[in-house]
Symmetry: C2
Subunit: 313 residues, 2 copies
C-alpha cells in the first residue's frame, strides 16, 4: 500500500475530506485516509450526537463537526456514508454549504435510486461520483471500522453520462489509494450484479435464520447448539445492520425480486429432484458449485483455509 500512496508524491490527493455518517464504512474510510495519507484533513459528522461522541473518543479523523454545514464547508470532497434511503436527505442538507466544484461521492450498495435522489438535490456546480466499495463485516458503528477494510476488495464506480472526468479520476485514485481495485459500470448493471452477489444472499440468510427461529418443533437452543452443521455460516450476514439492509431492499426492489424469482425457480426444481429421488441431478449441481468457490479463492476474494480459517473455538 505504501507504494500506492507514494505515487501521489508530496501533494496529498485531497485537501479536506468530509465524511457524513460514521458507521463501519465511514469510520474505515477515515482510518484508511490517514493510514494511506490520502487527505490533509479528515472531518466527520453524524446526525447522532452519541455517535459523534464515540467517534471523538476513538480519535477518528482530525475533527468531528457538529453540523452538516460545518462538516462540508471548504471540503474538496464529501463522501456520504449513510443508509441508501437517507442519501437524498443528506444531499439536501449539505447542498447549500458545498464549496464551488466540490466532489460528492457515496458508498451505497444501490446505485440507480441513490443517483436519482442525490442528483436532484445537489447544486449544478457539485461533481457527483457514485461509488460502492464491496466490502464490509457484520459489525456496525464507529468502533467497527478498520483501515484495511478495503484492501484487495473491489470498489465500483457508476458515473452517469457526462460525469466530470477529473472528479471520477480523483475518486478512483482515492479508492486505489486505500487498497481497492476499481471497476466502472452503469448503475443499472451494478444494481443487478449486486442483487446477485450481495442482496439476494442477505435476503436468503435473513430468511433462513428467521425460519429456524420460528419453528416450534425445533427449539432455539437446538438451532444454536447444532449450528455448526451449516446454519452458522448464514448467521454472519444475517447479523448485518438492519437499517442499511432494509433500505437496500426497498431501493433495489426490481432487481432483487427478479433475481429472487430465478432463485425460486431453481429451488423448486431442486425440491422436485429430492422428492423424486433424482440423485444424478443433485450430484451434478453439487459438483458444479464446488468450482465456483475455487474461483473465488483463486482470485483472492476468499480464504482457502477450511471453515474460513475460523479461529479455533
Amino acid at each position: 500500500m505504501a507504494e500506492l500512496s507514494r505515487q501521489h508524491g508530496d501533494a496529498l490527493p485531497f485537501d479536506r475530506l468530509a465524511i457524513i455518517g460514521i458507521g463501519l464504512i465511514g469510520s474505515s474510510i477515515a482510518l484508511a485516509a490517514r493510514r494511506f495519507a490520502l487527505a490533509r484533513r479528515v472531518v466527520l459528522f453524524d446526525i447522532s450526537e452519541e455517535v459523534r461522541r464515540e467517534a471523538a473518543l476513538l480519535g477518528l479523523g482530525d475533527e468531528i463537526a457538529s453540523s452538516f454545514a460545518e462538516c462540508v464547508r471548504d471540503a474538496d470532497v464529501v463522501i456520504i456514508c449513510v443508509p441508501v434511503g437517507a442519501c437524498g436527505a443528506v444531499a439536501a442538507e449539505i447542498a447549500p454549504h458545498l464549496r464551488q466544484g466540490a466532489i460528492v461521492s457515496d458508498v451505497g450498495s444501490v446505485k440507480s435510486a441513490v443517483i436519482k435522489s442525490v442528483v436532484e438535490c445537489l447544486p449544478a456546480h457539485a461533481r457527483f461520483v457514485p461509488a460502492h466499495p464491496v466490502a464490509g463485516t457484520e459489525n456496525s458503528g464507529p468502533a467497527s471500522g478498520f483501515p484495511s477494510l478495503f484492501v484487495n476488495r473491489w470498489c465500483i464506480l457508476t458515473p452517469p453520462h457526462g460525469a466530470d472526468a477529473d472528479a471520477v479520476s480523483r475518486i478512483r485514485a482515492f479508492w486505489e489509494g486505500v487498497g481497492a481495485n476499481v471497476e466502472i459500470m452503469s448503475a443499472d448493471h451494478h444494481d443487478l450484479v449486486l442483487a446477485v452477489t450481495s442482496h439476494l444472499p442477505h435476503l436468503i440468510a435473513y430468511n433462513i435464520v428467521g425460519t429456524a427461529d420460528d419453528l416450534q418443533s425445533v427449539t432455539q437452543s437446538e438451532v444454536i447448539k447444532f449450528s455448526a452443521g451449516g446454519f452458522r455460516d448464514f448467521t454472519r450476514i444475517a447479523a448485518s445492520d438492519p437499517t442499511m439492509w432494509r433500505d437496500v431492499f426497498l431501493h433495489n426492489k426490481d432487481a432483487v425480486l427478479e433475481v429472487l424469482a430465478r432463485f425460486n425457480e431453481d429451488l423448486s426444481a431442486l425440491a422436485r429432484a429430492i422428492r423424486w429421488g433424482e440423485g444424478d441431478k443433485l450430484f451434478e449441481l453439487f459438483s458444479r458449485t464446488r468450482a465456483i468457490r475455487r474461483g473465488i479463492v483463486s482470485q483472492g476474494q476468499e480464504t482457502a483455509e477450511p471453515d474460513f480459517g475460523r479461529r479455533k473455538l
Copy 2:
C-alpha cells in the same frame, strides 16, 4: 482434553477400533483416537484403493486393511464413516466378520434411514449405536482430517429402544474423549433438527450458487469478483462433498421438504414486504436475526471475530 483422556486411567476405552471409509470424518477420528489415546490399535479401510494408498502415506491409524473382513475382524468397535446411502451396504459387507458383541456405530448426518438400513444387515449379537458428530469442513478426502475437528462440537447419539446400555456409554465416552459434547435424542427428532440446522442451509447454499452461475445477465467473473458482498459466505458449504450431500437429501427427504416449505412461505412473505415497501416488517426480521448469531457466538459454536476471523487476504 488431557483431563478427559486421563479419566479412563490406564485401560484404553477401546482395544481395536475399525474405521470404514477414510474421508474427512474417518481420518479425523483416526487422528483424534491417537491424539487422545482412546484405542490401542486403529485400523482403517476404504473401498477405494487410491484412498487406502493415500491414507497409508499419511500414516493414518496403525494399519490400513485391504478388505472389509480384515478391517473389522477382532475389532471391539467399528465406526462406519461413509455417505449415508452406503451405510446399509457396508453393514452387509462387515456383518459376517464381526466378532461376538462388537459395537457398531456410524457418523451419518441422517439417522432414521441409516438405522433402518444398517439394523437389518447386522447380526443379532452386534450392538449398534447410531451417532452423528455435528462437525466438518468443506474439504473431503483422507488428507483433510485433523484431530481437533470434534473439540467443542456436539455429537448426537440416537440409540433405538432397547439399545445396549454399555455400548451406548462406551460410544458416549469415546466422543467425549475426542472433545465433543454428547446429546441423546430420537432419530426422528435428530432428522428434523438437522434438516433445519444443516440440511436446509446446504440446500439453499447449493441453490443460490447454482442460480448465480446460471445468470446470463451477470457473468461468472462478476459473481466471483464481487462475492465479498455476501455471496462468498454461501460458497463454503456449497463446496461440500457432493456424494455425501446427495445421499443426505435422498435419505432425509420428508424432513427436508417440510422445512423447505416453511422456508418458502417465509420467503414469499419477505418478497411481498419488499414489493409493497413494508420497511417495518423487514427491519423487525433483520433485528431479530442479529440476536440468534449472538446466541451462537456466546455458546462457543462460532467465532465473534468479524468476517469469521478470515485470514486477511
